[in-house]
């Protein structure tokens, strides 16, 4: 059981408010959609949820089985976005194993291989990421976000750079995540996530 609670979240940038006073509560097996026009702060909002950006005010609280988690929150989160970069000089498999070792979790190369097969990169697992196309990199990011089985999966523009086959895989991944924990999707394309339990609309906010 995982809970994600956002209270009175605000972020300013160059003393200009991007959004303020956003509150939402998401529980296990629920989805959250974040919408808003370009520049409305979707990426900023999901980065704050992912704990890589500190809000100007307000709180993001993650609790597991009713207990509020204080540290190592990054181990509960998987994050995919077009602006996230993987390590170019390492191979696809090394990148996944790096994720596990940095998280101080057991390094499991069979799991990594399975996951790479899942995103149809099985044949390229020993190639350096710098040789990948942008679509392949995007698919690798899904494997990268899922390798530690996070209860919260945050996707920013989930379908960018993907072909039809990739989109199918991602839909499958999103569906599985809905059964397993929390899914957060930031997108302008309403077909990405048609059914959702909660929505944050950032457009038109000060």
């Amino acid at each position: 059981m995982i809970d994600l609670e956002v209270t009175a979240l605000a972020k300013t940038f160059n003393r200009r408010s991007i959004f303020r006073d956003i509150s939402v509560k998401v529980q296990s097996a629920q989805t959250l959609r974040v919408i808003g026009q370009n520049g409305a702060g979707k990426s900023t909002f999901v980065k704050i949820l992912a704990q890589v950006l500190t809000p100007t005010s307000g709180k993001v609280k993650i609790s597991r089985d009713g207990r509020v988690m204080k540290s190592h929150l990054h181990n509960l989160i998987g994050f995919v976005s077009p602006y996230m970069q993987l390590y170019d000089e390492f191979t696809a498999e090394e990148n996944l194993l790096l994720s596990l070792s940095l998280r101080a979790q057991t390094v499991d190369s069979t799991a990594a291989k399975n996951l790479l097969g899942r995103v149809s990169l099985g044949g390229r697992s020993n190639d350096q990421v710098r040789t990948f196309s942008s679509g392949m990199k995007q698919r690798l990011k899904y494997a990268f976000a899922l390798i530690h089985r996070p209860p919260i999966l945050i996707l920013d523009e989930p379908m960018s750079n993907l072909d039809t086959e990739g989109i199918g895989t991602v839909r499958q991944i999103m569906k599985e995540q809905q059964d397993r924990g929390i899914l957060v999707v930031a997108t302008n394309d309403h077909s990405d996530l048609e059914k959702f339990d909660h929505q944050v609309d950032l457009s038109g906010r000060p």
Partner: protein, 242 residues
């Protein structure tokens, strides 16, 4: 309304006070054996040049105090993230830099006449040099960051690190060279001027009055600068909205 009048009165008092300090500091006679009030001691080896103490030492003290104040507001910014704390922090750093330059210039002109060269790497010259470097680095860092929140955070962090390292010079400098400076513990001519001995009662009164005058001026200048920066930033925010 009465607050405004009081404020103006305070500034007039400060003006008169400082004028009096200048006249006394430069006008009172120096005699070998001061016997009554209003006579300053004639310190052998320094003579009339000793009068710099009334101006040079307060500026040097203020440059250190300003650095600490700036660091204090930096810490407050990190805790509360209020943009106003950053304005205060940068204002105090700017005034600190100004006083630091004043202390360096007055000191080195004095050194030319007293020791024969502008710069001697005496421990206090080294420490003011380090302070100048820190201030310089602080402003170089600020000018290199566009995003205001990031600029405020990083410059606050830098000033705290500098503040933690600066005390090390106290242990290191005495090993580099023996002090030439009047006021060094091992100064054979006059001994520690400010802390003991060298000054008589009249000199002490003028000295601390001068310190008070400098602090008053400092507070006034920082107040003006903070208010001006607030106005400028409000204006910028307004124009960005449109």
């Amino acid at each position: 309304m009465s607050g405004k009048i009081k404020n103006r009165r305070l500034k007039q008092v400060l003006g008169l006070w400082t004028t009096a300090v200048i006249i006394l500091a430069l006008g009172l006679p120096m005699v070998a054996h001061p016997s009554h009030w209003g006579e300053l001691p004639l310190i052998p080896g320094l003579e009339q040049r000793a009068r710099i103490i009334f101006f040079h030492v307060p500026t040097a003290w203020l440059s250190v105090i300003a650095f600490l104040t700036s660091m204090w507001f930096g810490i407050r910014y990190l805790r509360k993230k209020s943009p106003d704390d950053d304005i205060k922090s940068v204002t105090h750093a700017g005034l600190g830099l100004l006083f630091c330059i004043l202390a360096t210039v007055t000191g080195s002109i004095w050194a030319k006449f007293n020791w024969g060269s502008f710069w001697n790497w005496d421990p206090r010259e080294t420490s003011i040099f380090v302070l100048l470097l820190i201030y310089g680095a602080y402003f170089a860092l600020r000018s290199a960051i566009d995003v205001e929140e990031k600029r405020a955070t990083l410059s606050a962090v830098y000033s705290i690190i500098a503040g933690v390292i600066a005390p090390f010079f106290i242990f290191i400098l005495p090993r580099i060279t023996a002090g030439l400076h009047p006021g060094s513990a091992d100064d054979v001519n006059s001994g520690p001027v400010v802390s003991s001995g060298g000054m008589n009662a009249s000199m002490r009164v003028i000295f601390y009055s001068s310190v008070a005058a400098f602090i008053g001026m400092y507070l006034w200048m920082s107040n003006l600068r903070i208010r001006a920066t607030r106005l400028v930033q409000a204006q910028e925010l307004e124009s960005r909205k449109q």
